[in-house]
Each structure stands twice: as C-alpha cells, then as structure tokens.
Point group: C2
Chain length 168, copies 2
C-alpha cells in the first residue's frame, strides 16, 4: 500500500492485467489486505471515494478525488475500534486480496491477487517517479493488457460488482 | 451532539425553524460545532453521507444512511491529526454553528444557531424516546414552521449551498 499519509500528492500509476502469475511469488513481501467502501461516487459526481483498509493490523481511512492516471488521495490512520464500528456500513462493497511488492528495473510493482468472489483476478500496478518514467516503461512479459483508467478494474467497482470483468 | 458512538440506532427527531431566539439563551449549555462533508449522496444514490465534526476539542467521523425522520448513523472518534489531514477535502461543504441544549417538558431541544455564510438561520431539533412521544409533541411558542425531512434544511445541503433557504 501507499504511505500512511499522502496529502494530496498526485499518483502516477499504470495498471495491467496479469497473463500468468510469476512462479517465484513466495519470495516477495506480501500483505493481506481487506478493504471496504463507505462512499463510491457516481462517475459524474463530485463526491469523494472513501474506504477503510485493514492491513498488517492497522486501519486506514482513505479519501480519493477524481479518477484516471492522476488522482489525489489522502490516507489517515484511524483507531481499530472506530474502523470496526464503521465496517458493517461497507457491506456489499468489499474486496480481499494479497498484495506482493516486487522491485522491477528500479521501479516497484504491486501485484494484487484477489480472493473471495474475485478469485482468479490479478492486477499489477506500477508507480512512477515522473511522467517521463511512466511513458517509457517496458512491462515484464507476465503483464497482460493495460487497464490504466479502466473503471471496471478499480477496486471500488470490483468491490461493488463482486465480479471479475474478464469472466463476464 | 449525539453520543460518541451510535451503532445503527434509528433517530427519532423532528426539526423546526425558529421564529425568534429565546431571550435567555446564555444560561444553556452551548457547544461550538464545525463540520465538513467528505461525501454527500445524491438524493437517488445509495452512498452514505460522511462528515467530520469538530466539537469540544474532539473530532468524530459520522456516517449516515438514508434520509428523513428515521435514519441510521454511526459516529466514531478519530485522531485530531487524521481529522486535520482530511479537513481540506471538505472545502465548499462546511457549516459552523453554536448548539444550545435546552430541556423542555422532559425532552431535549437542540437549537443550532448558524454562523458564517449561514448567519441568520436557526433550527431546533427535538429527539424523542418513542414514536408516540414524537407524535404528541407540542412545540414551544418560539418554534416556527416544521421542516422535518425537508432536505433544504439538512446540514449537508446547507453546507454545500452556503445559503439560508428562507433568504432565497
């Protein structure tokens, strides 16, 4: 996951489907992530997307504005008891996944392997230090189709549909 | 304000405009309240309304579902630092008010006197222990028109419009 608190820093990310999971996954750092949405804006809304994420025994509240390649997000810690009280309100809008963090050519790949209703789906995200680095990126051979900005693969859409878009 | 944490308890409230502020206001307990909205659902949305409230040096995050006389709300404390990081995201959707808590015939009136852009607006809310008590309520003579369920007087609408509906 991103740092515990990013105050309005724009994200430079590209997102790809995964053709085949790498064979050596177990050697990378992994996190169990569970997240649920309190608010998912309509595509034409000016509302924020708001989620609770549970990872590594910590809870964070994340507020995201806008969509696409560059979006702002603010992430703050909240007490476990507060998060647990809010959790029931995310019913029907949750995802569980294992995140693998893999270094790649000086960059960092975050590979999300979904569980539960979304089992079978894996998505890789790459964060870039600059717009130039983002453009010149050469994906590893296990990456599939690019889905950057494709709302069908946003976590909020996956959470509320509960369906792997590929399997539709 | 309501208790620090209400887990899905339905609210039984009626809301009234105020014809004239009571003369003896200063003798009642008062709170300075500042609140900002992170998410305001469209009237036809299934999203939650989510706000941060700052009162008495504490910060709470409140999530409300549904609208009208009976709605569920969950309120949880969040750390001051987290609330301050989220606050900029509520720009353009805030209200400030002084809340007076006044006992009345075994009930509790909460009188909100708005400040800032909404100066001149005052709204009184009464909470009831039962549906029967709610129906048989006789308002004090300083109460004006009932606006229960009137979305124009919801805090989220006031916050995003910044206008006193009477003054339109």
């Amino acid at each position: 996951m991103a740092q515990a608190s990013k105050h309005g820093a724009p994200e430079r990310e590209r997102k790809f489907l995964v053709k085949k999971l790498p064979a050596n996954l177990s050697k990378f750092k992994q996190e169990q992530i569970e997240q649920g949405y309190l608010a998912i804006p309509k595509s034409n809304g000016r509302s924020n997307e708001i989620r609770i994420r549970h990872v590594g025994g910590e809870y964070v509240l994340t507020v995201k504005r806008d969509r696409g390649e560059a979006r702002n997000e603010t992430e703050v810690p909240i007490p476990a008891a507060s998060a647990r009280s809010l959790w029931p309100l995310t019913a029907g809008a949750r995802v569980r996944k294992v995140r693998y963090k893999m270094p790649y050519e000086g960059l960092k790949i975050e590979l999300d392997v979904y569980a539960g209703r979304l089992r079978g789906l894996a998505v890789a995200e790459v964060e870039f230090p600059s717009a130039a680095a983002m453009k010149k990126f050469h994906p590893p051979d296990w990456f599939g189709k690019e889905v950057t900005g494709n709302d069908a693969y946003s976590n909020s859409t996956l959470a509320s549909s509960g369906k792997n878009p590929k399997a539709r």
